[in-house]
């Protein structure tokens, strides 16, 4: 296990280094450096452009620039936003907190509901309910998350007018207690969460179902049944427990998918998190903010992958022994 962890940690460090290089290449070396964007629409003469380039250090060697960039990052300096007129760090940290609220709630629901429905469908393989869940999962998986968000707003916020249309809190609300504030947050959380869960739950249903069906056909399941154990115990303790490994693997990949989902949902619902931040940075072409968002999304996903690799290792009885 120690050796495994060492290997994984080395790989983690290498991957994070690659993320830094990618980020640098994307935002600093690709055509259109910051000066081009600042100079756009302003009539700057060559001397002014040269001064700007020197100011941003773009006249120095590539390697020099990379070192400066890493140095800034190490000091927690994520750059200066053109549109917010302030440094990027605090903006991103505030947004990250708001995103975590949304992503935590929806991820718990996605995995929990997905596994439950998947087990339910597998246990009734071939039944009408099973068919409905399989087809339903395929349909829901084909839905664009942002469009589901638009539909939910139209249905529940505009037509029925029972839930807030956007944002995280009611504008200018004054809360007498923490609980009323929390209730307001919860009301705003309902629709974005449903949008994320409806689309993403599908793959967990399908994976749990097919993994459990494969497990149920194995010999040790027949043994468990032959021992006369209660069917429910056979299903959960012998079946589901062994069928969960692919679900853990799916969770690994889900970290990347959930970033995609949160960008769409936050954009549609104006949820003030990282997703809306990167959307707004695209609209306003605020490259430092976009860069910080990309970096943080990538680092978080890489770390999540590392964590779930380790969890997988701890869970898998076959790997655990070696």
């Amino acid at each position: 296990m120690v050796r495994y962890l060492g290997q994984k940690l080395t790989y983690l460090v290498l991957t994070l280094a690659a993320v830094l290089v990618t980020n640098f290449v994307l935002f600093h070396l690709m055509p259109g450096d910051p000066v081009t964007h600042i100079a756009r629409g302003q009539h700057l003469d060559a001397a002014a452009v040269a001064r700007l380039r020197a100011f941003y250090g773009l006249d120095r060697s590539m390697f020099d620039q990379f070192l400066t960039y890493v140095g800034h990052l190490a000091r927690g300096d994520l750059g200066y936003s053109y549109t917010y007129q302030t440094s990027v760090g605090p903006i991103v940290i505030r947004a990250l907190g708001n995103t975590l609220i949304l992503v935590t709630v929806s991820t718990v629901l996605v995995i929990g509901l997905g596994v439950l429905v998947g087990v339910f469908a597998a246990a009734r393989r071939g039944s009408r309910a099973d068919g409905v869940f399989v087809i339903g999962s395929l349909v829901f998986w084909s839905l664009p998350t942002f469009w589901v968000g638009m539909l939910l707003i139209f249905l529940f916020a505009v037509t029925l007018n029972i839930l807030p249309i956007a944002g995280m809190y009611t504008a200018d609300a004054i809360y007498p207690t923490v609980f009323t504030q929390f209730a307001d947050l919860a009301r705003h959380l309902v629709l974005p969460t449903i949008a994320m869960v409806l689309v993403d739950v599908a793959q967990f249903v399908l994976i749990t179902r097919s993994s459990l069906l494969a497990t149920l056909s194995e010999d040790f399941m027949t043994t468990a049944r032959a021992k006369g154990l209660h069917p429910r115990r056979v299903l959960w303790r012998h079946g589901v427990r062994n069928a969960l490994l692919p679900v853990v693997t799916a969770t690994t990949l889900y970290a990347s998918a959930t970033v995609g989902g949160t960008i769409q949902v936050e954009t549609v619902f104006s949820w003030p998190g990282m997703g809306q931040l990167i959307y707004l940075s695209v609209v306003r072409r605020d490259y430092p903010v976009m860069e910080a968002c990309f970096l943080i999304f990538a680092v978080v996903v890489v770390l999540a992958n590392f964590a779930s690799d380790v969890v997988y290792r701890l869970l898998d009885p076959r790997v655990r022994l070696t």
Binding site: F154, Q203, S217, Y254, Q264, Y279, M290
Partner: protein, 304 residues
């Protein structure tokens, strides 16, 4: 969908055999499979609409409303699906968008599959050092969150159609590469390959005649699923304002609807049809792709 469908089963050690009764046999099995048939019929109808649609309702860019009453009209006898914020006919836009969305999805898939197959076959063939390097790169792209990468690339390299296609391909080739690699690895260990070597067939000869045909079946099944993902990716990018504003894809219509407040104003006729179009096409390609996978990989069929 917010990411590629995860398919842990595909990367198995088992070799997926080329179809026993040739491609005609596959076509037959696809037609016999209920989901496959529904998918194929739907795809055929959509392709027909994409070709014929613009002829039936020629897309006229200049057809904007001359008066305030002409904009955001609910469906009526003249405009079956109402009008948008400029008074343009929504039905016309959705019909025209069909071919744009399909076109982008297909071209992006072609590039994705080309890159993925190339990397996968090379990694599976050379093994050792080259394999390790290629797979590290593949894993790295697999772990990078794809939508932020697409957004960054899209914002930096531009919003023309070829660039959007490239952006989608850059972010979606890794899963194809992984699937192809495991198949190529398995094929490589076959006796046929050893014999071909003994007979003196060159490495390129073996690659062309034995490995590539061997991975082809899997690549095609995968490609059909990639089309679904690419169409969704294009819709998402366009929705976020990174599409080609001169080409009205379904995602572009939804973007226009969103930024002009169609949802808040209850203009359902504006944002409902393009979304339904996306869902139908994506679902149809998924059905065909999954059906193909079951046919080509009976191991999957056993548990489905």
């Amino acid at each position: 969908m917010t990411g590629p469908m995860m398919e842990p089963n595909l990367e198995s050690d088992a070799v997926v055999e080329p179809p026993a009764h040739g491609w005609r046999g596959v076509a037959y099995e696809l037609w016999v499979d209920r989901m496959g048939r529904i998918g194929i019929i739907t795809v055929a109808v959509v392709v027909l609409i994409a070709i014929v649609g613009p002829l039936l309702a020629p897309y006229d860019r200049g057809a904007v409303a001359g008066s305030r009453e002409g904009i955001l009209q609910p469906p009526n006898a003249v405009h079956w699906l109402g009008t948008d914020e400029l008074g343009r006919d929504v039905l016309r836009q959705v019909l025209a968008g069909t071919s744009v969305s399909l076109e982008i999805g297909l071209i992006a898939t072609l590039i994705t599959v080309l890159i993925g197959t190339l990397v996968g076959v090379l990694a599976g063939w050379f093994t050792g050092f080259i394999d390790a390097i290629l797979m590290r790169i593949t894993d790295f792209f697999l772990v990078l969150p794809s939508l932020p990468l697409m957004i960054a690339l899209g914002a930096i390299i531009g919003q023309s159609l070829p660039m959007i296609v490239l952006v989608i391909a850059i972010t979606s080739w890794p899963s194809t590469a992984r699937i192809v690699r495991s198949q190529a690895l398995a094929l490589r260990e076959r006796e046929v390959v050893a014999r071909a070597r003994t007979v003196g067939l060159s490495a390129t000869g073996i690659l062309w005649r034995l490995i590539l045909p061997g991975v082809l079946a899997l690549v095609i099944a995968n490609a059909v699923l990639v089309i679904a993902g690419s169409i969704l990716a294009e819709a998402t990018l366009s929705f976020l304002g990174l599409g080609d504003p001169t080409r009205t894809s379904w995602g572009q219509i939804l973007h226009n609807a969103f930024v002009t407040g169609a949802v808040g104003n209850g203009c359902w006729w504006y944002f409902l049809p393009p979304g339904i179009g996306i869902v139908i096409v994506v679902l149809a390609f998924s059905l065909v792709g999954q059906s193909l996978e079951r046919i080509l990989n009976p191991k999957l069929a056993a548990i489905a």
